[in-house]
């Protein structure tokens, strides 16, 4: 029997100065779609790396395909108390 696993797209919504879900587990190759539904601008900035959404205005969205397994801790570079994590499984 042949199993075909398609890469998925999962959503993270930014609202009221927080990422929902705050912790998300995906498979390598999946895409995470971040959308800013807040009245303030935010970013998705992965700690210690080069993955950065840049400024996301109200209504803006940004997608990133996670190919390498690992734990990605991210924050908002404008409001750094906003935190989230993406765990990428092989």
């Amino acid at each position: 029997m042949l199993h075909i696993v398609l890469a998925a797209t999962l959503n993270v919504v930014i609202r009221d100065f927080s990422y929902t879900p705050m912790a998300l587990t995906v498979r390598a190759g999946d895409t995470v779609h971040f959308v800013n539904r807040d009245s303030e601008a935010h970013t998705v900035t992965v700690q210690g790396g080069k993955i950065d959404s840049g400024g996301l205005d109200t209504g803006d969205a940004w997608s990133y395909r996670f190919t390498r397994p690992g734990k990605y801790a991210y924050f908002c570079s404008l409001h750094p108390y906003m935190r989230g994590t993406i765990v990428v499984r092989p």
């Binding site: 303030e40 970013t43 840049g54 400024g55 205005d57 570079s77 409001h79 750094p80 108390y81």
Partner: protein
Amino acid sequence: MKRSAFLEHVAWTGAGIAYSLSAAGIFHGTAVAQTPPQAIDFVQISDSHIGFHQSANPDVSATLEAAVNAINALPQQPQFVIHTGDVTHLSKAGQFDTAKNILGKLRAPLFVLPGEHDFIGSDRKAFYEAFPADAQTGWRSWDGGGVHFIALVNVFDFENMGLLGNDQLAWLERDLRAHKVSTPIVVFAHVPLYALYPQWGWTTEDGAKAIALLRRFDCVTVLNGHIHQVVRYQEGSISFATANATAYPQPKPGAAPKPGPLALPHAALLQAIGYRNVEVQPDGRAGIAERTLG
């Protein structure tokens, strides 16, 4: 030499020059070894957020322009205008262009400090292309009218809120070492240096180290932006004062679940944004006059 030009010369060279006006109205200037007795005045503006377009202020360019026009219309031009950061909302090239065009109309010399909104993304090129800094570090100091001015940058590493970093703190210590305790000191930075409201990130993590270096001086004034409202605080000989934005106000600390743009009726908005005039007396005391647009 016109009197105003002469006074400007005195203020900027810091050379001790006593002046007097004779009965005949002829102006005499004599160089003497003393601090000039004149006050020095400048203007602070902050948080223009060019590119912001929500209901709290749908036209932030117009309100920045109104502030610039009001400053240009002052009967006596300030020695300089300093913008204490968040010139743009999202660090986009077009936003820097717009800001530069509006700020370029100022008659007085302009200094611009970055805020965290000017440093979005992995590099800071857009900001420094628009507003080149003299030094590569971005922080700097200069002397004018007997006052020692210091411009700090506390948004380089914003992951931990405001942060000066060890290099900048070491520079600050060296910079201050040469100055007598009686020298009036004025410090600028985007984010407040003390823990104004850490729950909302309104603090500089290592700001206490900078404050410790400033404590030995007789009179220090620390002027910040970031929080879009005037909050004054005194700690010993150090006076702290955050400034209104030119874009929109934010809630008072703790007055809302989160910080962020505070939407007000237009007339009330104009009374909550603007610029400030600062006059530093020879003894270092700073008189601050808040000027709103409404």
